[in-house]
């Protein structure tokens, strides 16, 4: 979208939007009529976001530039994604205006909302014409969600704890010296699939036979790992509570930015690759829906993605983004086919339909 910027000052917003709508191709044709008349601007757009470096990056990359462009303030609601979900579902069920305009969500969580039918269709966003396949939610009709970047659940570690070199396998974490010094997500997310491989199973057997994963997780339970959520990993690394963790690379990178010596690898069994996305709940007034769509459309511009994802250190869905200097050729920033060969991708639909069972199984092992 940067290439349009020099002419933007000479064009009215209406003309600009019409032009971008035209670029959207056939799918944008239906929206061009709507763009012909710009609806009333709301005082603010409420975007649910994760806190810390996550929201800081979103603000710097997307929200601030959206406000600058449209004059609409952006408020970030830091309610946890899991906690906003029932509120949005209840609002839609009761025909109330939902509490947020845009939900920044994991694709798995967002897929649940899409399956429930509470998401607006985003197929008419003009900038979808310029995105990679990663933006399209697999297994769903149209664009109830737009994936905005991918991420890898890496094996992050303190180099001092691995004097013989970086860990090569998830099995390396079974070394008794790491007892009480490991961390995983408290629902096991990110670890189920590599555990399936490390346990001697096959990815093709997911979800039918995941016994190898449960066996490997049971072995890992013997290491008495800590179980937490995104902010916990950064804190635990910083406080010297853990030596290694299966976490999103962003959390490890955040700890590194805070001065903690930390590295990460994609072990030989692979690491889970997943996506996050943006979606709009049903029930917004027409004008607010229009501007919420504009926000997501803006988030798909190259310039917004570049700044936003530089902050997160994650690969986006717009071609031509430049990786941050510290992540060039990094396994957590896959850009080529070869990079993706080491990563494990399981469709959101399979994940959503089985998540509850996997979650209970992981918890049963870890809480036992």
């Amino acid at each position: 979208m940067k290439r349009f910027k020099p002419t933007l000052s000479h064009l009215s917003r209406r003309t600009f939007l019409q032009a971008t709508a035209a670029l959207g191709g056939a799918s944008a044709l239906g929206l061009r009529g709507a763009y012909a008349q710009e609806p009333e601007k709301p005082a603010e757009i409420i975007v649910r976001a994760w806190g810390g470096s996550w929201v800081d990056s979103l603000k710097a990359g997307v929200s601030d530039s959206f406000t600058k462009k449209t004059g609409i303030a952006v408020r970030h609601d830091l309610t946890e994604d899991n906690e906003i979900q029932p509120k949005v579902w209840a609002a839609v069920a009761q025909n109330r205006v939902p509490p947020i305009h845009i939900n920044w969500d994991t694709t798995t969580n967002a897929t649940k909302s899409a399956l429930r039918g509470v998401t607006e269709d985003l197929s008419d966003l003009p900038n979808l014409a310029n995105v990679t396949d990663l933006a399209k939610p697999a297994g769903l009709e149209g664009f109830p969600i737009v994936n905005t970047y991918g991420y890898v659940y890496v094996l992050a570690y303190r180099p001092a704890a691995f004097p013989d070199g970086p860990p090569k396998s998830w099995k390396d974490l079974l070394d008794p010296k790491f007892k009480g010094r490991l961390a995983f997500y408290n629902d096991g997310i990110g670890f189920h699939f590599p555990a399936q491989v490390a346990g001697g199973g096959k990815l093709e057997d997911i979800p039918g036979n995941m016994q190898p994963a449960w066996d490997f997780i049971t072995k890992m339970k013997g290491q008495q790992p800590l179980l937490g959520e995104d902010p916990d990993f950064t804190t635990w690394f910083q406080n010297g509570e853990i030596d290694a963790a299966c976490t999103i690379s962003t959390n490890a990178r955040e700890a590194r930015k805070n001065g903690v010596e930390i590295e990460w690898v994609v072990p030989e069994e692979g690491a889970k690759f997943d996506t996050d996305g943006l979606w709009i709940p049903k029930g917004l007034p027409e004008n607010e829906l229009y501007w919420a769509k504009q926000y997501i459309n803006h988030a798909l511009t190259k310039e917004a993605q570049q700044v936003w994802l530089d902050g997160l250190g994650l690969p986006g869905v717009v071609p031509g983004l430049t990786p941050p200097k510290d992540l060039v050729d990094d396994p957590s920033y896959p850009t080529t086919e070869e990079d993706f060969q080491h990563l494990i991708r399981i469709s959101s639909k399979v994940q959503v339909e089985n998540e509850s069972e996997w979650f209970s199984k992981f918890k049963a092992i870890m809480q036992g």
């Binding site: 946890e80 899991n82 906690e83 979900q85 029932p86 649940k112 909302s113 399956l115 429930r116 039918g117 009480g180 408290n186 629902d187 008495q224 790992p225 800590l226 179980l227 937490g228 916990d232 406080n239 010297g240 509570e241 959503v352 339909e353 089985n354 998540e355 509850s356 979650f359 209970s360 918890k363 049963a364 870890m366 809480q367 036992g368």
Partner: protein
């Protein structure tokens, strides 16, 4: 004539008017019902809770379809079957119950001397200090206090730093079951002291003096006079600590390191992680039932203690 105005001031006129309005709204013949009117807000609040429970009961009988993330229209007991058979829920229920019992026992042991000293001390300064120390934690809040323990007991916390001074390697003091119990006892202590203090105040000091004058040493006086008379306080404090511990969420979540969940944490997971509100509602109902049975047992065995407001068997 201005004298008439001073003889019947404006304030009185206003009061007359207000009384007139009150009499019109609530005539004198309704006077016998006035106490019940006062009860109305509380009844409404309890009524709302009951309505919520009815809704939860309804949700507990519906199962989640993970292809649409909608709940079934039909009723079934599938969620109850899951809750009673899946190892995870049995583990967290057992852990919650055992923790509630341990925390109640330990808290009462710690709370009694504190409450006794607070009530019996002859020094107003010491009493004030104990009262302030008692109320201070209420102003801090449970979550902040639990995070405080993380700072104090963490690997790089004050305790481990102090141990490091005497060449003791850092040890894991948090993220385990004892840490959760410790955090709960610390959280419950003020509640127990507050429940025990009125019961101890009601014991005449002369009784203890009389026991002493009849030759009883302080141990015998304590066992045969103070403890029996303090029983209503123990029962009230015990019931409050037991129910609060059984249903606690924050302390296991923060000090447990993710592997020491209580039933409340499992309920949260079902509502907010797996989106299975039916199963979450089932677990919530079962927790309410367990708490009610425990309290019922205590009341049946020991009476209602201070919660009976002086009408207890004790």
């Amino acid at each position: 004539m201005r004298a008439a105005r001073t003889a019947y001031p404006l304030k009185w006129r206003i009061m007359d008017a207000l009384e007139g309005v009150a009499a019109a709204i609530w005539p004198a013949r309704f006077r016998r019902a006035t106490p019940y009117l006062m009860l109305l807000p509380a009844v409404l609040l309890v009524g709302l809770l009951v309505l919520g429970l009815i809704q939860i009961a309804d949700a507990s009988l519906r199962t989640l379809d993970t292809t649409t993330f909608q709940f079934s229209d039909d009723y079934s007991i599938a969620n109850f079957q899951r809750a009673l058979t899946e190892p995870l829920f049995l583990v967290v229920a057992r852990r919650s119950l055992i923790a509630a019992l341990i925390v109640t026992a330990v808290t009462l042991v710690f709370a009694f001397p504190y409450a006794y000293l607070m009530v019996r001390t002859a020094s107003p300064r010491l009493r004030k200090f104990l009262l302030i120390a008692l109320f201070l934690p209420f102003f801090i809040g449970q979550v902040v206090r639990a995070y405080g323990w993380l700072i104090i007991l963490g690997n790089q916390g004050m305790v481990n730093e102090a141990l490091g001074l005497v060449v003791v390697a850092p040890m894991r003091l948090i993220y385990n079951y004892p840490a959760v119990l410790f955090g709960l006892v610390q959280y419950m202590l003020p509640f127990a002291v507050l429940m025990l203090a009125p019961a101890l105040t009601a014991i005449p000091e002369e009784l203890e003096a009389a026991a002493g004058s009849l030759g009883a040493n302080w141990v015998r006086t304590f066992i045969h006079v103070v403890l029996p008379l303090a029983r209503p306080g123990f029962i009230g404090a015990g019931v409050v600590v037991l129910t609060l511990s059984l249903t606690d969420f924050a302390v296991p979540a923060i000090l447990g390191g993710g592997s020491q969940d209580f039933t409340a944490n499992a309920i949260y997971d079902q509502f907010f992680r797996t989106s299975d509100q039916g199963l979450g509602a089932t677990l919530a109902l079962m927790l309410v039932a367990l708490g009610s049975i425990l309290v019922g047992l205590v009341f049946a065995l020991f009476g209602a203690g201070t919660l009976a407001m002086g009408r207890s068997r004790a």
